[in-house]
C-alpha cells in the first residue's frame, strides 16, 4: 500500500490540474453568468458522484459511522452553499449585472463558505483515505475552479433585466 501513496498523490494532482484547466478553458468564450452556472452544475455533479462512492464504501464496511457523517456533513454544506451561490448569480443576472468581477466575488464568497479542507480528513482505512482524497479532491477542485473560470470568461455583449 505504501507504493500507492505517491502514485495516487500524483494522480490527484494531475486530475486536479486537468479539472482546473478544463474548467478555465470551458469559461473562455462564454459570459460570466453562463460560466457561473456551468461551474455550479460541475459542483453539483461532483457531489452526486461523491455521495455514490460514500454509499458504496459505507455499505462494504470501508467507512465507519463517524467518517460517513463527516463526509455527508461536508457534502451537505457544499450543496447548500452551491444553491445559495447559484440563486445569487441568477438574481445578479436578472438585475442586469454583466461585470465578471461581481460574479467572481460571489464565487469567492462561495468558496469561503466551505472552509473545511476535505482532503485533510483522516480515515481508518488506507484505501478509504486514498479514495476520498480523490473524490473530495474533485469536489474541492470544482469549487476552486469556478472563480478561475469566471475570470477567464468574456464580457457579456448584452445586458438583461434593464440595467
Amino acid at each position: 500500500m505504501r507504493k500507492l501513496r505517491p502514485a495516487r498523490t500524483t494522480a490527484i494532482a494531475f486530475v486536479t490540474l486537468a479539472a482546473l484547466w478544463f474548467t478555465a478553458a470551458n469559461g473562455c468564450g462564454k459570459d460570466p453568468y453562463r460560466t457561473a452556472l456551468a461551474g455550479s452544475d460541475d459542483v453539483a455533479n461532483t457531489v452526486a458522484s461523491a455521495i455514490k462512492v460514500t454509499t458504496q464504501y459505507y455499505g462494504t464496511g470501508k467507512l465507519n459511522d463517524p467518517e460517513k457523517a463527516t463526509i455527508a456533513g461536508y457534502l451537505d454544506t457544499v450543496t447548500g452553499s452551491n444553491m445559495k451561490f447559484r440563486h445569487a448569480v441568477m438574481d445578479m443576472h436578472k438585475a442586469g449585472v454583466t461585470d465578471s468581477a461581481q460574479y467572481v466575488a460571489l464565487a469567492q464568497a462561495f468558496v469561503n463558505s466551505v472552509p473545511t479542507d476535505p482532503v485533510a480528513f483522516h480515515y481508518h482505512s488506507a484505501e478509504s483515505q486514498a479514495k476520498f482524497g480523490e473524490v473530495l479532491g474533485a469536489v474541492k477542485a470544482a469549487l476552486n475552479g469556478i472563480a478561475l473560470a469566471i475570470q477567464n470568461a468574456k464580457p457579456a455583449t448584452t445586458t438583461k433585466g434593464g440595467q
Binding site: A7, T10, A11, V15, F22, V47, A48, I51
Partner: protein, 56 residues
C-alpha cells in the same frame, strides 16, 4: 513504478477526463435556463441522497 499502480493511475486519470468531457458536452447543449434547472435538480437530489446516506 509497480505496473498495477501505473494501470490504476492511468484508469483513474482516463475516467476523470471522460467524466469532464461528458459534463462539458452535456452542458453545451443546454440553454442558460436549462443549465440552471439541471443544477437545481441535481442539488435537490443530492440533499435527498445525503439524508438517505445519513439514515443508513
Amino acid at each position: 513504478m509497480d505496473p498495477t499502480v501505473a494501470i490504476n493511475l492511468g484508469f483513474a486519470v482516463l475516467n476523470e477526463a471522460i467524466n469532464l468531457i461528458r459534463g462539458i458536452q452535456a452542458q453545451s447543449g443546454m440553454t442558460d435556463d436549462q443549465l440552471a434547472a439541471h443544477a437545481e435538480a441535481t442539488d435537490l437530489q443530492n440533499k435527498d441522497d445525503i439524508k438517505k446516506l445519513l439514515a443508513l
